[in-house]
Amino acid sequence: MKQSRAEIVAFVGGQILPHEADVRAWLRRSGSVAADIDDVIQETYCRLAALDSIAHITSGRAYFFRTARNIAIEKIRRARIVRIDCVTEIDALNVVDDEPSPERVVAGRRELGRVQQLIEGLPERCRQIFTLRRIHGLSQRETALRLGVTENVVEMQSARGLRLILRALSEAAAQDHSVVGKAHEPHSVRKRD
């Protein structure tokens, strides 16, 4: 059954995007360079965008890791540059934390904290607009009226804020997710101060 775009967007927002920082961190640990990571992530979303239905995806996190891994391996193979560490790279990509488990439940409160953190990190005007639009659920028009600006300004600021939030989502060290995942980081040791 074909699902509506709204359903797919909601699924990606709730089950895929929150894990992006973890997938990026894992790709980094596997030795990928920044530009490649951007490409792998983008292609993963492209594959999701091409789906008619996401009903078969039982764990967004596992799906994200698996797809990113496949794309990364394809890229390494396509590069056709025989390098001594190629095999190691592919091996490194095999260490994937993608085991779904019944106790990995939607951690609503933590997610909420993350949303608030993201919005609070925006420049003042953006922050006001995002608070009204996304937290209070005002329309663009109502937001413009409240702030005494034109709708155009609201839209421009929304786009700007969205860019910043997407950047923050991809850069977030995902500390707040370490509880959700398992001890899946054999190569990295996080220092605690």
Binding site: V12, Y45, P102, V105, V106, R134, I135, R146, S158
Partner: protein
Amino acid sequence: MNPIPSASEIDEEASDWAARVDARDLDVEHDPELQAWLKGDARRAGALLRAQAAISFLDRGRALAGAAPPAQAVPVADRPSRRALIAGAGGAAAALVGGIGLWSARPQRLDTRLGEIRRVPLADGSLVAINTKTALEVAMKPKSRRVVLKEGEAWFQVAKDPERPFVVAAGPVRVRAVGTAFSVRRGDEAGAGVDVMVTEGVVEAWVEGDPAPRRRMSAGSRIVLASAVSPAVAESPSEIERSLAWRNGEIALDGESLEQAARLFNRYNSRQIVIEDPVLARERFVGLFQTNEPESFAAAVAATLGAVVKDDAEVIRIGRARIS
């Protein structure tokens, strides 16, 4: 000649488009300008999905939070009236979900087929996960949010709105919430009752026409109402999480009998499991399976309990190995 744009350049353009789609309620599939942009580079579709997903992610925050943030987060003194806020919330959510359950008085029907599991955002910012073979009706009204569970099971993550109670009706049973998460399941057989499990916050549950006082239940508690046995609230957070594994398309068994396990799988699949031996049917089993893979369950049972599996297109029979 233009150099090939980088992933992050595409992301920036996609953010502009996502903001525009959200602000103007554009139809992604039919807006000619947007479609032209998407066709210009295969990577743009992914970037747009990601940017729209980020907006949806932020909106989930509202669904989860329910309550308004502290007053100082609102920049202007003249806070809008509660009604304006509610109307705004509905508008934004409706724009986001492309018209699922607008403010119409006509209830919206949500059904799932055998084996189908759906997650659907509602117009008020709530989320509903609908289990196999379920029929729901959702009516969003200015003063109330009402869901009728005609059959099956659903889990609700309710956006907080004290002025619009969220009530789920399942037969004579009513479950009321203001901002919380809980599931309601109607048993298949007559007299099986309605199983209510609370995963977050507090709900009130009662049976229509029953003089017994309403029960307040908090996270981690469970009750079966309107069944043959008298109801009692049980505290079983881990069991509840396990019972709700279907939200991830999974069945988590932890000491259920094979008979109970077979009944669970049979809720999702036309290919039914039959445990042929009564002694075997009482054996207890532990494991995590996909709802749509009864074969894996049968194989695991065969391997661990030495059972014999005979299957055809319609039935998977699990029997005892003949001792010779």
